[in-house]
C-alpha cells in the first residue's frame, strides 16, 4: 500500500491531488487529437481499416466538445498531407456516415479554405483541396453532379479574356489532376458532361502558347525521353486513363473496404463555386516540364515501371514530391517516408525516388529546396537501402553523364556540385575508366569539361594529391592544377622586373608589421608606367604600384584564407586608395587572378571579401570577368559562381537598405499613432525630425543602390552582347559555323542570367530595351530578349526559348 496521501484523483501518479484536474487541459486534447489524426495510416500493428474505424469512433465521440478543432485539423491535413489523401477522405466519409451535419460543415469549411487559398496565391495547396473534395465523391460525402458542376466552372475559366495563360492553366490542372482519383465515378454518373469538359480542355490545350518549354527543359534533345510540358503530359495520361475505361489500380483506396457503410450515407452538394477573378496581385504557379530519365527498360529484373503516359506514373510522382515537401527539414524522416511509399513490390520504387529527386534538383529556374538537401537525402536513402539504392544512383549518374551534350548549363552546374559532394562522402570511389571516352574529345566539349569541373570540386573538398591518387593516370589532362600561388617577384631571376626591389622592400616591411603609412611611403617611389605626370599625392591609377603591392601581400598571406583576409583587413586603407578609380579596381582584380589562377576557390573568396569591404564594386567584378585576361577561363564554372554570387550580394544589399527604409517608416508611423492617441499638447512635429531625416537619407540610399544594381546588369548584358557579336561577326566573315561549344556555353550563360535573376531584371526592362536590346542587334541575340519580353507581358513569367539558327 502506497504511503502516498490519498487523493481524489486516484489515478494521479504524482500524488498531488489539488494540482491536476480530472481531465486534461483543452490544448492537450487538441494536441492529442491532432496527433491521432496525423498518425493514422502510419505503420501499425492493426490494419488501416481498423485504425480508421477506431479513429472515427473517437472523433465522433469528441464532436460535441471539440467539433471546431476537429474541423480545423481535418482541413489542415487535407491541405498539407496530400500524400495521405485517401486515408483522410475515408475518415471524413466514415464521420459523415455517422453524423450528416458534421459532413456538411466539413464541406463548407473546405470550400472556405479553398477560397482563402486562392485569394492569397496558395495555388499548390489549393490543388490538394480540390483533389480532396473530388475524392470525397468516392466516399459518398459529395454528390458527383455537384463536383462536375465545380469542374465546369473551372474549365470555363479558359473562356475568360485578357487573363494570363497561367491562370487558365491552373484551373485546367486542378480539374485534370483530380481525375485519377475520381474520373471513374464522375464519368459513370455524368458522362456527357465529362466528355464536354474534356473536349473543351483539349481545345484549350491545343491553342495555348508553349514558348516557355525549351527554357525549362533539362535536355534539349528528345531522346531517349522527351521533356514534356506538364499539362501536355497530364493530358496524355488522362486520355490513356479514359481509354482504359478509367480503371486505375495504383491509388490506395481504403474507402472501398467500407463501401457498405458509406453507400448508406447521405451526400452533400457542393455549393456553386465561382473562381475568384484575376487581380493585379494574383501570382499563379509557373509552368513546368516533366523530368523523366527512366523507363521500364532500365530495371529489367524488377517490377515494371509505369509508362510515361500512365496515370500511375503521375500519381506516384505527385505523392513522392508531396512527401519531400512535407519532410524536407527532417532528412531521416523524409527518406523513411519515401521508402515506405505503398506499392513497393509492384513498382521500382528506388527508380521513382531517384527520378523525382533529380527532377527537383534540376528544376528550372530553381529547385524547390536548397541543393545540398538533395545530396544529403540521397545519402540517407543509400544508408537505408545499401543493397539497392547506390546501384540505382550509379546507373542514374552514368545516364546523366551520357547525355551531357544536350544538358542545360545550369543543370550541368548542379550535377557537378551534387556528384562531387556525393563522392566526398564515399571516399571518391568511382569507375573513372568507364569515362575514358571523354579523354579523346576537345576539352571544351561537355563531357571532358564536366569531369574537369568535378575533379576540381572534389579537390576543394579534399586536397590535390588525393585527386591525383583517385583517377587513372590517363586522366591527368583533366586533373586540377596544384592550387599554389604564383609570385612574380619570387625568383632571383626576376630581378630585372620593374618593381622587384620595391617588392623586396615591401616584403620586409610587412613582415616587420609595417603600418599603412609606411607602406604608402615605400610605394611612393614606384614609377607610373602609364602616365607622364603624377599628381602630387600620387593617388592616380598606377598599375605598377597595384601590381607590386597586391602580389607581395597576397604572396605573404598565401598560407590560408584567414591569413589573406587578415591582410586585406590590415591594409584596407592602401587597397582603397590604390583601387579608388575604376581602372584601379579592375587592375586589383587582374593581379589577384595572376597570383591565384591555380586556386579558383581562393580567387572567389578574395573577390567576395573585396566586395564586402568595398575595395572593389560589383560592376568592376563584372567588367573583369568579361576582360580579355580572363578569356581563357571564361567557360569555367568558378567564373560563373563568382558572377552569380556578385549579383546576389548586390540584390541582398538593395533588399537590406529597402528593409531599413520600411522599418524606419514603420517607426515613424507608430510614433504618429502614439502621439495621436496621447492627446498631449506638449508633443509636436519636432519629434518627427530625426526620423524624417533618416527616412530621407535611406530613400537616397535605396535609389543609389538600385541605380548600382541596374548598372551591374547593364554592364553584364553589354559585355555579353559585345562578346557574342564579335563571335558572330567572326564566324560570318570566316564562313564557319556559329555553334561552337564556346558559343553554346556563352549563350546559355546569358540565358542563365535572365533565368536566375528574372524578378530583378523585370524592374529595369525598359532601360535594357532602350539602351541595349535594340533592333540593330544581331538577330541571334535579340531573339533571346524578345522572347523574354513577349512572354512577360502576357503571363508575368520570364522565359524564352533556346536560340535556334
Amino acid at each position: 500500500m502506497s504511503r502516498r496521501r490519498h487523493s481524489d484523483d486516484s489515478d494521479d501518479s504524482d500524488g498531488q491531488p489539488h494540482k491536476r484536474r480530472r481531465t486534461s487541459e483543452p490544448s492537450e486534447i487538441e494536441e492529442r487529437l491532432e496527433s491521432l489524426i496525423c498518425r493514422v495510416g502510419e505503420k501499425s500493428n492493426s490494419s488501416l481499416e481498423s485504425n480508421l474505424e477506431g479513429l472515427a469512433g473517437v472523433l465522433e465521440a469528441d464532436l460535441p466538445n471539440y467539433k471546431s478543432k476537429i474541423l480545423r485539423i481535418l482541413c489542415t491535413v487535407a491541405r498539407l498531407l496530400p500524400e495521405k489523401l485517401t486515408v483522410y477522405t475515408t475518415l471524413v466519409g466514415l464521420l459523415n456516415a455517422r453524423n450528416y451535419n458534421f459532413g456538411g460543415e466539413f464541406v463548407e469549411a473546405m470550400i472556405r479554405q479553398l477560397k482563402e487559398c486562392l485569394k492569397v496565391n496558395m495555388y499548390n495547396e489549393a490543388v490538394h483541396l480540390v483533389r480532396f473534395l473530388s475524392d470525397l465523391v468516392n466516399c459518398h460525402v459529395i454528390a458527383a453532379p455537384s463536383m462536375v458542376a465545380m469542374f465546369e466552372n473551372f474549365v470555363s475559366v479558359t473562356q475568360e479574356e485578357d487573363v494570363p495563360q497561367v491562370r487558365c492553366d491552373w484551373y485546367i490542372f486542378a480539374f485534370l489532376s483530380s481525375l485519377p482519383w475520381v474520373g471513374k465515378e464522375l464519368y459513370e454518373k455524368k458522362d456527357a458532361e465529362m466528355d464536354r469538359l474534356l473536349s473543351q480542355t483539349e481545345s484549350y490545350l491545343k491553342r495555348r502558347q508553349k514558348i516557355h518549354v525549351p527554357m525549362l527543359q533539362v535536355w534539349t534533345a528528345d531522346k531517349p525521353h522527351p521533356q514534356e510540358e506538364y499539362l501536355d503530359c497530364l493530358w496524355s495520361q488522362i486520355q490513356k486513363l479514359k481509354k482504359d475505361r478509367w480503371q486505375e489500380r495504383h491509388i490506395l483506396r481504403p474507402y472501398l473496404a467500407f463501401d457498405s457503410i458509406l453507400c448508406e450515407a447521405l451526400q452533400h452538394n457542393l455549393p456553386p463555386f465561382t473562381p475568384p477573378p484575376h487581380t493585379e496581385d494574383s501570382v499563379y504557379p509557373m509552368p513546368r516540364v516533366i523530368f523523366r530519365m527512366f523507363d521500364y527498360t532500365d530495371d529489367p529484373e524488377g517490377p515494371v515501371m509505369p509508362g510515361s503516359h500512365s496515370v500511375e506514373r503521375f500519381v506516384i510522382e505527385e505523392n513522392l514530391h508531396c512527401i519531400i515537401k512535407s519532410h524536407w527539414k527532417e532528412r531521416k524522416t523524409c527518406a523513411a517516408q519515401l521508402l515506405s511509399y505503398p506499392g513497393n513490390n509492384k513498382i521500382p520504387l528506388n527508380y521513382h525516388i531517384v527520378e523525382v529527386i533529380f527532377a527537383e534538383l534540376f528544376q528550372l529556374p530553381s529547385p524547390p529546396h536548397i541543393e545540398v538537401m538533395y545530396t544529403t537525402l540521397l545519402i540517407e536513402l543509400c544508408k537505408l537501402q545499401p543493397g539497392s539504392l547506390p546501384q540505382v544512383l550509379a546507373q542514374a549518374t552514368e545516364m546523366l553523364y551520357m547525355r551531357l551534350d544536350t544538358m542545360n548549363t545550369t543543370c550541368v552546374d548542379r550535377f557537378i556540385n551534387w556528384f562531387s559532394h556525393h563522392l566526398s562522402n564515399f571516399q571518391f570511389r568511382w569507375s573513372w575508366e568507364d569515362w575514358s571516352d571523354c579523354l579523346t574529345q576537345d576539352l571544351e566539349k561537355p563531357k571532358p569539361k564536366f569531369v574537369r569541373e568535378v575533379l576540381e570540386k572534389c579537390m576543394r573538398l579534399s586536397y590535390h594529391q588525393r585527386i591525383i591518387d583517385i583517377v587513372p593516370a590517363s586522366f591527368s589532362v583533366l586533373s586540377p592544377a596544384n592550387p599554389v600561388c604564383i609570385y612574380k617577384y619570387g625568383d632571383e631571376s626576376n630581378r630585372s622586373l620593374p618593381g622587384y626591389t620595391v617588392a623586396l622592400c615591401l616584403t620586409i616591411a610587412i613582415k616587420n608589421k609595417a603600418s599603412n603609412d609606411e607602406i604608402f611611403s615605400i610605394l611612393k617611389d614606384v614609377p607610373n608606367p602609364n602616365q607622364d605626370d603624377d599628381d602630387d599625392e600620387g593617388f592616380t591609377f598606377n598599375p605598377l604600384k597595384i601590381e607590386v603591392f597586391v602580389q607581395t601581400l597576397l604572396h605573404l598571406a598565401a598560407k590560408s584564407f584567414s591569413h589573406s583576409f587578415s591582410a586585406l583587413a590590415k591594409f584596407h586603407e592602401v587597397f582603397k586608395t590604390l583601387a579608388e578609380s575604376d581602372e584601379g579596381k579592375l587592375h586589383v582584380l587582374r593581379v589577384v587572378y595572376e597570383v591565384w589562377k591555380n586556386h579558383p576557390q581562393m580567387i572567389a573568396v578574395l573577390v567576395d571579401k573585396m566586395i564586402r569591404t568595398q575595395i572593389v564594386d560589383c560592376a568592376a567584378v563584372a567588367n573583369w570577368i568579361f576582360s580579355s585576361e580572363l578569356a581563357h577561363d571564361f567557360t569555367r564554372f568558378y567564373i560563373w559562381e563568382i558572377l552569380h554570387s556578385t549579383i546576389r550580394k548586390m540584390n541582398k544589399h538593395v533588399l537590406k537598405i529597402h528593409k531599413e527604409l520600411e522599418d524606419t517608416k514603420a517607426r515613424l508611423a507608430r510614433q504618429h499613432k502614439r502621439r495621436d492617441s496621447d492627446d498631449d499638447d506638449r508633443s509636436s512635429d519636432r519629434e518627427d525630425g530625426p526620423l524624417e531625416e533618416q527616412i530621407e537619407r535611406l530613400q537616397e540610399k535605396v535609389e543609389s543602390a538600385q541605380s548600382e544594381q541596374k548598372n551591374l546588369f547593364l554592364v553584364i548584358f553589354q559585355r555579353f552582347i559585345m562578346l557574342l557579336t564579335e563571335h558572330l561577326v567572326r564566324c560570318e566573315t570566316g564562313g564557319i559555323d556559329v555553334f561552337t561549344p564556346w558559343y553554346k556555353s556563352c549563350i546559355e550563360r546569358l540565358q542563365q542570367i535572365f533565368l536566375q535573376h528574372h524578378q530583378i531584371i523585370q524592374q529595369y526592362m525598359v532601360t535594357f530595351e532602350n539602351l541595349l536590346f535594340t533592333a540593330e542587334l544581331d538577330h541571334h541575340i535579340l531573339a533571346v530578349f524578345q522572347q523574354f519580353c513577349t512572354v512577360q507581358c502576357t503571363s508575368k513569367l520570364f522565359m524564352f526559348s533556346l536560340l535556334c539558327g
Partner: protein
Amino acid sequence: MCSGGTLSILRSDSYVDLSQYRDQHFRGTRYDQERLLRKSCTLYVGNLSFYTTEEQIHELFGKSGDIKKIIMGLDKVKKTACGFCFVEYYARGDAENAMRYINGTRLDDRIIRTDWDAGFKEGRQYGRGRSGGQVRDEYRQDYDAGRGGYGKTVQCQFYKFYRENDEPHNVVTTQKVRQE
C-alpha cells in the same frame, strides 16, 4: 478555418533544435546562453581531422550559404589544428541549413558534427584538454590516425612503459605527414 495553420508533425525541425551541450565556460546564465544559441549564426564543428584545412571547411559549409568567418580550433600549446572549428554565417537561415544537411555527413572521410555556438570569443579557439588539444583527445582509448593517434593519456602510458623498459618507442606523434 485559416490557410496559414500548420501541423506539429510538419513543424518538426529536430536537426535545428539545441543539443544538450552547454559551454561550461560561458559567462552568463543558462538562460542567456540558450537565448544566444537560439539566435546564433555560429556553429561549432567537431570531429574534424587535424589535417582538414580552412579551405575544405569553406567549400563544404559554403553549400548552405555565405560564410562570414571560419575560426580554426588550435592546440593551446602547439598552436596547430586540433580537430574543431567555428563557422559563422551572415544569416541564421544558412546556419540552420548547415545543421540540417551538413551535420552528420563526411568531411575528409570523417563524420563531422555541428552544434550551435553562442558566439566566438577570444580564447575559445583553443582546446581545453590538459595537454593542449581537445578534452575528448585526452582520454580517448581508440587509435585515430586523423587526430594524433591514441588519446593523450594512452600515449603517456606508452611513453612511460617504453621509458621504463628502455626500448625505442614508436609513440605516434601529431606531426603532419600530408602536404599543406
